[in-house]
């Protein structure tokens, strides 16, 4: 839907009367009994028992639903599934990415706590669709409580014959294994996750080969985010068209918005994609705290470019609209910063995070993340020079697109865009030039030296 007569338009339709499907308001839904009373595992049963539904049909339905990964990259899930080679005598794996560590992102946790069976059911359907023998749920180690709690529910599934051999007596078998991470952000990157799963250091692998060809233990593997998999039973139950017509056309479905920062009601909110950012801030999250003005919004976790308040007018939360606005959907973890926020100091915290979390394999990322932090820190402490701003941007060019995984890019985007979009704040913190105005040396090493 295009904006008409100047009024910004949501793509989320009548969102105020939206009924939650990922996190429905049902007490104790995390318990298998309760989940089943509410139609749980019907989707799995349908898929496994309906002879007319081949694995390929399931993948096709997911493709038609338009579901895009909720882990950050927003890649078409059905497409990803179809990259798996034809089954042969090799084992095949699914990895459910529950490592959720992106700053400002806490929506998978909500699913794991309140509706883990939706994830499990999604896993089982995905395994059927790709004819997979085993799924590892790679969970952020800090989520110990939820790991224990999911294990209890998983045990029930095994007891009930919903996981393991001969599921529901249909002859289809697949295992689910809970795996605990050890506290590294980088292990959420899919190939690093696989290395870690294999018991190695969490070092991302270069691609190609892609995991579908050579994944866990070199076998065909697909990696999907928790929320992505949780969408799958909904697609089976309600149909691909329902999914495709929910929210933004190019990026449809229900989605969990994790709203944090300077708002009155931070939290995880389920709505269709394509919500107006302003609706989410002003209505859903109760507006900016203390009636202050908005300064910046980071729409999808710390890795995506921040938007200035004046850039969000009419922007909706979906890949297309955010790309046009100059950012990304990411994880849908929205960070709201009010007018009092010191953007330099905010960026300092962000660069510290990337410095601390770089796996250290690639030269540009290992060295560059630390350097970025040092420069931003110096500016924040009032010791920066104007030329440091150019250096930050140049360093970004030295790092971006030259590494094994997307971490370095993710470390650069906030820096590049915060410096560009809030440049006056940075300049204000830099030391005054000792040179007459206009003579400040502001270029790279060769000319500056």
């Amino acid at each position: 839907m295009e904006a008409t007569n100047g009024t910004p338009q949501s793509k989320a339709g009548d969102w105020r009367s939206y009924e939650r499907v990922l996190l429905p308001p049902v007490k104790d839904l995390h318990r298998l009994e309760v989940y089943e009373q509410h139609g749980g595992y019907d989707a799995l049963r349908t898929v496994l028992t309906d002879d007319s539904l081949t694995p390929g049909d399931v993948t096709q339905a997911v493709k038609e639903s338009g579901l895009r990964g909720r882990g950050g990259a927003g890649f078409s899930t059905g497409m990803k599934w179809s990259f798996m080679p034809e089954p042969d005598d090799r084992p095949r794996y699914l990895a459910c990415n529950a490592d959720e560590s992106e700053p400002g992102t806490f929506k998978d946790r909500q699913l794991m706590e309140y509706n883990p069976h939706l994830m499990f059911e999604g896993i089982l359907i995905a395994c059927y669709a790709m004819q997979i023998d085993a799924c590892y749920v790679y969970t952020r180690g800090e989520y110990v409580d939820w790991i224990d709690h999911m294990q209890v529910e998983l045990d029930k599934l095994y007891d009930k014959g919903y996981v393991g051999d001969n599921i529901m007596g249909t002859g289809f078998s697949t295992e689910i294994v809970m795996h605990k991470g050890a506290g590294a952000y980088i292990c959420g990157e899919e190939t690093s996750l696989l290395e870690s799963l294999e018991g190695k250091r969490g070092y991302p692998r270069y691609k190609p080969p892609f995991p579908a060809q050579k994944g866990a233990w070199s076998q065909p593997t697909t990696i999907n985010n928790v929320e992505t998999l949780a969408c799958v039973p909904l697609i089976v139950n309600r149909g691909a068209e329902w999914f495709a017509s929910t929210g933004a056309e190019q990026h449809p479905g229900p989605v969990l918005y994790g709203i944090s920062g300077h708002v009155n009601r931070p939290g995880v909110y389920e709505y269709p994609t394509g919500m107006l950012i302003t609706d989410l801030i002003d209505e859903v999250a109760g507006g900016v705290r203390g009636g202050k003005a908005l300064k910046a919004l980071i729409p999808g976790g710390a890795s995506v470019p921040p938007l200035r308040a004046d850039m969000i007018e009419g922007v909706t939360m979906d890949a297309e609209s955010l790309r046009e606005a100059g950012s990304l959907f990411g994880t849908g973890g929205m960070l709201i910063l009010d007018e009092d926020t010191d953007m330099v100091s905010w960026l300092r915290r962000v660069t510290h995070f990337y410095q601390h979390e770089s796996c250290g394999q690639c030269t540009p990322c290992r060295e560059g993340t630390g350097w970025l932090e040092q420069i931003v820190t110096r500016i924040d402490e009032g010791e920066g020079r104007l030329r440091d701003l150019d250096l930050l941007l140049e360093l970004g060019d030295q790092m971006e697109g030259r590494t094994i995984c997307a971490f370095a890019d993710a470390a650069v985007w906030p820096v590049r865009n915060t410096v560009k979009r809030f440049r006056e704040e940075f300049e204000a913190k830099c030391k005054k030039s000792v040179h007459p105005t206009g003579a400040e040396v502001s270029a790279g090493a060769e000319t500056a030296a």
Binding site: Y203, S358, Q361, P364, E367, Q374, Q398, R402, E446
Partner: protein, 579 residues
């Protein structure tokens, strides 16, 4: 044949290649650090970035699209690619720093980043002078650095194990060392610890890096992070000369370089030979370097009045000849040696033959179970094969002992070995027997029983041939000088070492470090001449080997020229017994 175009030059190729290795094979140099042909590809240093394109294929026709001039249109990868990971494809176009400014800039940027936390302690670093980081930084790096902060500090002296010390600050995290222990030596002893800019390799807590191949990580390390504990800070690379040769610690005949300063061997490193040791060298082959420097004899000795006394060389030859002539040839035991070269053993057989004595025997030095299935063998000598191929058989200890007890042995002639230490005889048993001994070190346990002691040149001082357990004939060259004038050695030295190190023209020069010894191929003809059987090998060991390879099938083809730097694989032959 499929083709690939690199910087405008088109190359034909067959089989599978990665772009980086293909470039290196074609002599197109590309900067890189983490890639090593014998190990998995981590693509972590990011130094080898190039621009890569493939022909734009028309989806309908399957044919490449062409522009108006008929040239194939190229679809460039959107990002620069790590050439170590890219598979060579037909029609691929590659631009390196030679033809593309973006690649040039990327390589420069990467080097700037590599150096920001590097301590730059090149002035005291062992690696300086042959450091891939130093060389490539000068060649491709930026003029200066824009980094104005405190560098990350890490431990400077981590004793990883008995032989390897880490300077963690110099590490560039290429993971060559950890991949070596994971994939090559398979000890799994090293891993990277910590994360990001703080990381460096380490063993598990409480574990020692005592892998029998641990020192290979020092060679692999592209910076001076991993150093040899007993070599670090000892010598600068440019003060030493290196001589291509082989190690003699066991029967593998691993190819190596001997590094010498002032006629002292300071370290031994591997030399690539894919038919023998590939890129590697076991630690036991390296830690022996001191035997070439320490406990070396000061000159020949002869027994007079019950005591061994220093003598001049001609006196020693005369005495040896006199002793040999004063016993019946049937009472002489000639001991050849699996430590000595083919040439030396051959001359010994000639001498025994001329005198009418029994053919020489050699003492096997086999330690069952000491070897692995790789470069360390049970056999602790380099030339048992050479002996066997010359028809020299292992000693029959029983037979020799009974002969000894029966007093049937009056003279023992020992070529570069130590029968007392080997347990063949006791010093006591040798009391009434004449002993002529070619020895390397004063620690030789047969030396106290010797009547004539002739210091022999060691592998690092001689010219000769060894045959490894797989029948590969390989030649050695002098790496250090001995006293006295020997034209053959000087010429070989000149060819192998084009420097002045350890010569009187060098500032590092101590006369004491030149050992007063001679190669056995010089000693034996001197003695032979004095017993009336002159040998005519004016051209030295080269001529000896020519004769050996032309008269004995077991050595056919093993001329010095053919052996060159990598050796010659000899035909399989029946040997007396397997060692």
């Amino acid at each position: 044949m499929p083709t690939i175009t690199i910087d405008g030059t088109t190359y034909e190729y067959e089989g599978d290649h990665k772009v980086l290795q293909f470039c290196l094979d074609e002599g197109v140099e590309l900067p890189h650090f983490c890639y090593h042909p014998a190990m998995s590809i981590p693509a972590n240093c990011r130094q080898c970035l190039v621009k890569v394109g493939t022909p734009k294929i028309n989806r309908e026709t399957g044919e490449p699209e062409r522009d108006d001039d008929g040239n194939v249109q190229i679809q460039w990868f959107p990002k620069l690619q790590a050439s170590c990971t890219v598979d060579v494809q037909d029609g691929m176009v590659v631009k390196t720093h030679r033809s593309d400014e973006e690649v040039q800039a990327a390589q420069k940027d990467n080097l700037e980043l590599l150096l920001i936390n590097h301590p730059l302690d090149c002035p005291i670093c062992d690696q300086a002078g042959h450091c891939p980081l130093q060389i490539q930084a000068y060649k491709y790096g930026p003029e200066g650095s824009r980094f104005e902060f405190r560098k990350v500090h890490k431990p400077k002296r981590v004793k990883l194990g008995p032989r390897v010390t880490l300077d963690a600050e110099r590490c560039i995290n290429c993971t060559r060392c950890t991949r070596f222990t994971d994939e090559v030596s398979e000890s799994g002893q090293l891993t990277i610890n910590q994360r990001g800019v703080k990381n460096y390799p380490l063993t598990a807590p409480g574990e020692d890096f005592d892998d029998p191949y641990s020192m290979n990580t020092i060679d692999l390390c592209p910076v001076g992070a991993l150093t040899a504990s007993d070599f670090r800070f000892k010598a600068r690379i440019w003060e030493m000369s290196s001589t291509p040769s082989i190690t003699t610690t066991n029967a593998t005949g691993s190819n190596c370089q001997y590094w010498v300063r002032d006629n002292l061997v300071l370290r031994i490193t591997p030399r690539q030979n894919m038919a023998v040791n590939e890129y590697w060298l076991p630690d036991e082959d390296r830690t022996v370097y001191e035997q070439f420097n320490n406990d070396r004899p000061t000159g020949p000795q002869i027994r007079t009045g019950g005591n061994l006394a220093e003598a001049r060389w001609p006196q020693a030859y005369a005495r040896a000849a006199q002793d040999l002539s004063s016993v019946d040839p049937s009472e002489i035991l000639f001991l050849g040696s699996a430590h000595a070269t083919v040439e030396d053993n051959y001359l010994l057989t000639q001498l025994a033959d001329a005198l009418g004595a029994d053919a020489p025997r050699y003492i096997p030095h086999v330690e069952p179970g000491a070897g692995d299935d790789w470069l360390i063998t049970d056999d602790k000598t380099p030339n048992a094969q050479g002996c066997e191929r010359l028809g020299i058989r292992a000693v029959d200890e029983q037979m020799i002992r009974s002969k000894m007890d029966a007093g049937e042995i009056k003279l023992v002639y020992v070529l570069e070995d130590d029968p007392v230490a080997a347990g063949l005889f006791t010093e006591e048993q040798l009391k009434g027997v004449s002993v002529i001994l070619h020895h390397y070190n004063t620690t030789n346990q047969t030396l106290p029983a010797a009547d004539v002691a002739l210091p022999a040149a060691m592998v690092v001082e001689t010219v000769g041939t060894y045959v490894n357990q797989d029948g590969r004939a390989q030649r050695v060259r002098p790496a250090k000088e001995i006293r006295g004038v020997n034209r053959t050695l000087m010429m070989e030295m000149g060819k192998a070492r084009q420097d002045t190190h350890g010569t009187p023209f060098d500032k590092w020069y101590n006369e004491e470090n030149r050992v007063n010894c001679k190669p056995s191929w010089e000693l034996l003809p001197e003695i032979a001449e004095r017993v009336g059987h002159p040998m005519d090998y004016a051209k030295g060991p080269k001529q000896v080997m020519d004769e050996v390879q032309s008269t004995l099938d077991a050595f056919a083809g093993a001329t010095y020229d053919a052996m060159g730097l990598k050796g010659v694989q000899l035909e399989d032959v029946e040997t007396g017994e397997t060692v």
